[in-house]
Assembly symmetry: D2
Homo-oligomer: 361 residues x 4
Amino acid sequence: MSHNTFGHLFRVTTWGESHGPAIGCVVDGCPPLIPLTEADLQPWLDRRKPGGSRFVTQRQESDTAQILSGVFDDGEGPVTTGTPVSIIIHNEDARSKDYGEIARAFRPGHADFTYQSKYGVRDHRGGGRSSARETAVRVAAGAVARKVLGDGVRIRAGVVQLGPHRIAPEDVDFDAVYDNALFAASSAVVPAWEEYLDGVRKAGSSIGAVVALEVTGVPAGWGAPIYGKLDAELAAAMMSINAVKGVEIGAGFEAAELSGEENADEMRLGDDGRPVFLSNKAGGVLGGISTGQPVTARIAFKPTSSILTPRQTITRDGAETDLRTKGRHDPCVALRGVPVVEAMAACVLADAMLRHRAQVG
Amino acid sequence: MSHNTFGHLFRVTTWGESHGPAIGCVVDGCPPLIPLTEADLQPWLDRRKPGGSRFVTQRQESDTAQILSGVFDDGEGPVTTGTPVSIIIHNEDARSKDYGEIARAFRPGHADFTYQSKYGVRDHRGGGRSSARETAVRVAAGAVARKVLGDGVRIRAGVVQLGPHRIAPEDVDFDAVYDNALFAASSAVVPAWEEYLDGVRKAGSSIGAVVALEVTGVPAGWGAPIYGKLDAELAAAMMSINAVKGVEIGAGFEAAELSGEENADEMRLGDDGRPVFLSNKAGGVLGGISTGQPVTARIAFKPTSSILTPRQTITRDGAETDLRTKGRHDPCVALRGVPVVEAMAACVLADAMLRHRAQVG
Amino acid sequence: MSHNTFGHLFRVTTWGESHGPAIGCVVDGCPPLIPLTEADLQPWLDRRKPGGSRFVTQRQESDTAQILSGVFDDGEGPVTTGTPVSIIIHNEDARSKDYGEIARAFRPGHADFTYQSKYGVRDHRGGGRSSARETAVRVAAGAVARKVLGDGVRIRAGVVQLGPHRIAPEDVDFDAVYDNALFAASSAVVPAWEEYLDGVRKAGSSIGAVVALEVTGVPAGWGAPIYGKLDAELAAAMMSINAVKGVEIGAGFEAAELSGEENADEMRLGDDGRPVFLSNKAGGVLGGISTGQPVTARIAFKPTSSILTPRQTITRDGAETDLRTKGRHDPCVALRGVPVVEAMAACVLADAMLRHRAQVG
Amino acid sequence: MSHNTFGHLFRVTTWGESHGPAIGCVVDGCPPLIPLTEADLQPWLDRRKPGGSRFVTQRQESDTAQILSGVFDDGEGPVTTGTPVSIIIHNEDARSKDYGEIARAFRPGHADFTYQSKYGVRDHRGGGRSSARETAVRVAAGAVARKVLGDGVRIRAGVVQLGPHRIAPEDVDFDAVYDNALFAASSAVVPAWEEYLDGVRKAGSSIGAVVALEVTGVPAGWGAPIYGKLDAELAAAMMSINAVKGVEIGAGFEAAELSGEENADEMRLGDDGRPVFLSNKAGGVLGGISTGQPVTARIAFKPTSSILTPRQTITRDGAETDLRTKGRHDPCVALRGVPVVEAMAACVLADAMLRHRAQVG
């Protein structure tokens, strides 16, 4: 996990800025002989891509991923060769508008000030490297990771809280997520949520949200002690997504209010003689290692920082000003964060699978 | 961040089991010429060490840290030499009791089942590698990290929620933490909390808690884009601590309910012409890079899994049984987690400081 | 140093196959504010590019490098921003010929057999990932590294032995290298060497060579103990170049015949009061750390494995056959290895510079 | 491969100085369920330990290794548990003599000057961290690596050149190595070499040497493209050993004089239908991946820098002086380097085995 590289054995290095010619990633460490074409990537990219509804940015990008290396068709269709898979997505709608104001002033809540403070320079066009546009290539990498994991591991996420509106845990239905424009994990809430988010959007405002993640099919034993903990890797992966401010595994913060009796996931033997847990407060991870139960997490997204209401800020030349961020934005950045959460989970798990295989065989 | 190594440039590798002869760590990458003796480590270890009050395990350990390498006294007192600092703590009170039952049965909520599933073997004595005893050496490493950071960076943590009892944000006082046996960040709550935790303790039960962290003195610019984000590293560090199930940076999950207007930390110029933020919803990190404001986080600890009430579980031989975890335990593992949270924050920040210096000079 | 990534802080990840659409690299960890355009890369690429003389492969590639990210022009010319620099070189002359024979048979001396053994699949077109074509992007990365190092560090290499023909150490002149088609470190040998290599070429044969490297301007103190040794990193970097079979630092294998008296580089004080070494048997590195003297190394290249004489081999289907490698080849692969040796040295040193700055400031 | 850590998955972190209380290592990533006791380490340590003959330093060390963690006896003997194996060796004969002169003056050929230049401080007692004493723990780690590799992989090394005296390749007999005090790979040369080295020793001088390495039983497929090349990892490992100045794989520098016809290792099918190479110029590695043939290398050691003849040098205070290194030394440091070469090869191969298993299964 270096600056722009994620993972130990299944390693993803991403590059590119919002308004540069392209963004992309290099996926190294991928096992060989896995069938892989661009058609495997596109459905996941389509879920994240902008312009799909009024609730996401109107930037027009086809987000067409091209594979430049690491696959070879020796007569039976393209498969991975074990060498790096380089993926590129060309930026198509990087408007050449006047960035004068944003070039000078730091947008509150954005990374403008910190990039400038750190590097003494920043690509201010559309947020440059700090733009959520970078997450498109994570989704492409996640699609490769899913192929590595195989169909037995099922990774699903969805919005379970939009601002003050929550879906009760017992009502969460991940099957609903990609059938509504809000990525909501329940079809029942969609009408009310759409009305709510329309109000936010029309006010030029934005709102935060919580995304829930559930991964089934992870066998017991993935992860490792101490600093290789599966939940620590998941936490880092989620926190690396733009706008994420909190991560919970299993019961999360609720566990702070539980007694030891309530929190212990008791065990019995199933009819097949295999271990069965009677609850899943642990979120599928104990001691940093998977239990075989579903891996569950919740991820808090802050509201989009770009809003139409003027906010007080300063310029890089040391003057005070008020800034109103015009342009195309997501009223709730968490919506398109759903496929990104899934993708990062896929990358973490593919990496954990390879690491486990390395040590234990 | 490999299995038992944490950090990129300030690298801590830990080893040891709860009931082995010793535990220890190797701190590599430490800058040279930093005055360092065992006396610099001990005060922090003393804060975490067991046996100090009725609210923590009665295991008797002096937790005396010995430095075996990496420091040299060339006439003006011992200083780091730039080579690895090896630190060892001998286990003194590893009781040679009968572990028969625990050796066979998996304690619910513990890592027994997952270690056995992964490795096919586990050191069951006191939890082996998964014991919180390992965190003692993190505290020692954190003490070295504090020396690297210098006095300008102040790292403080404290319990702000004990089960259902919370300290209001405006009442949090980190100065109170080490003056009470509960590591509570407010002296006002201590009598009531002591009574509450006595009840938990006497019932042979346990309870979860939330620890708050605040770091002041971090300059703007530490951290890095994408996967080197300061908050992602902090999240992984905290989630690597035993019993932690959730991490928030700044407003955390509360941010999910905020509008963009509420969440944006506006900026003005201070009297000295330097940037001033009017709020700190970001928790001192934007785009993965420090803003210069205090770095704030909240960490959720689950209740200690070892409780006196029998719980349903299974044995490694595939039989069902009920297990009651006798022995010495912390009724609230988060209490002694406070110095560990501080130590991990110190390690993350020392690493970030060195990485920043490497790239930007 | 992962499979396709080189370096710790100045990190280069390369991707691409000989006959795929493109090759490229991602350079991460580059300091910000370094002026960088494609014009900084091209001269170095031009030195390595094929088709320049009858002594190198006749494959026609312009080797035009395009920078896709990580630089930004804020009015004073493009500079690095501290984010990943993605570089792409499109393959232009990847002939779509019949690879039938090579697809089936393993070329002796090539990586065909080992890739197939490891991965169960290989991109046989032009050697795929194992082709020396990959080294073009190393040269591009090396050009970035040179900018990081600045003009004070001068990196030069040249051929000092061509088959049985050697340039005496006292005659080595690195200024001559890029003035002759043989990359020879002496203009005096060129006529005889050209005649010799013409003979090799016309016979459809190939020959090995030795490349010498000299880096001046490296200050004392770069590198680190034990596994971060500057010479160990250099050795790995050189051995990672296609066809390299040996690496010497300083006196190298000659040191095995020296006495302690002969080998010790004695020291005196120069007129300016600074340390002066009276010899440089160490090659500028002692204990893994630079001495301030020139860093010197010698690198042995085996002959190109592709030759016109039929060689005995087997097919992947388990049959014996004789194989004659037709097509475009370098009669001495070491020639175009010279810019690659320089590039790898530049990457190692830029990384060492950043690592030193991180630890020591 | 960080400063004091070697390996990617089978990771060895070493610590300790020549005259500190102890030296040690932490071996992380070791597969579980491998029988391991201190008795597995000691025979290898005994081969390297000082004081065994008049040809090695007279420092008296039992080099008794103690395992502090990572193994557990659950009734069938101690086995690895998958957690870090911490090994400690106490320094027993660190004489408290007057280091006054060495503390001030830089011994030519030693790392004194470079450590001081880099860190501004050095532990001058016996060379501190740069002492060959550190290699004892590499041998211990190598013993663990051998257990990981199993008996099928046989790793042997021996001295094949002592100063000007060489053993012809056809006379190399690795079985002879541990039967003579010179670690010579031929019993025939021992009388003459003993006489020669006695002369060197009595003159207070020293001499360089070449060590050959041969590993059999490595299957085809270990290693990886580009920067994960098996030969690059071996080269770095060997060059990280004290006093090593050159590394060759297979034909090495001799390959520079070979034609493509001579260098190509032709292939046929064996009686069992499996691939057979007709020669091994490649040293068992093609394209960075093992071929299944023996992995062969040659490693050049410089002469011990500590000699009795006064040498010109300078002091850290900037004065010129002449220095004569008294004390206990090896007249040929390569001798005890033989077990270290084997140990490093074992570590590289164990790591390669795990990495291969991770990616390919």
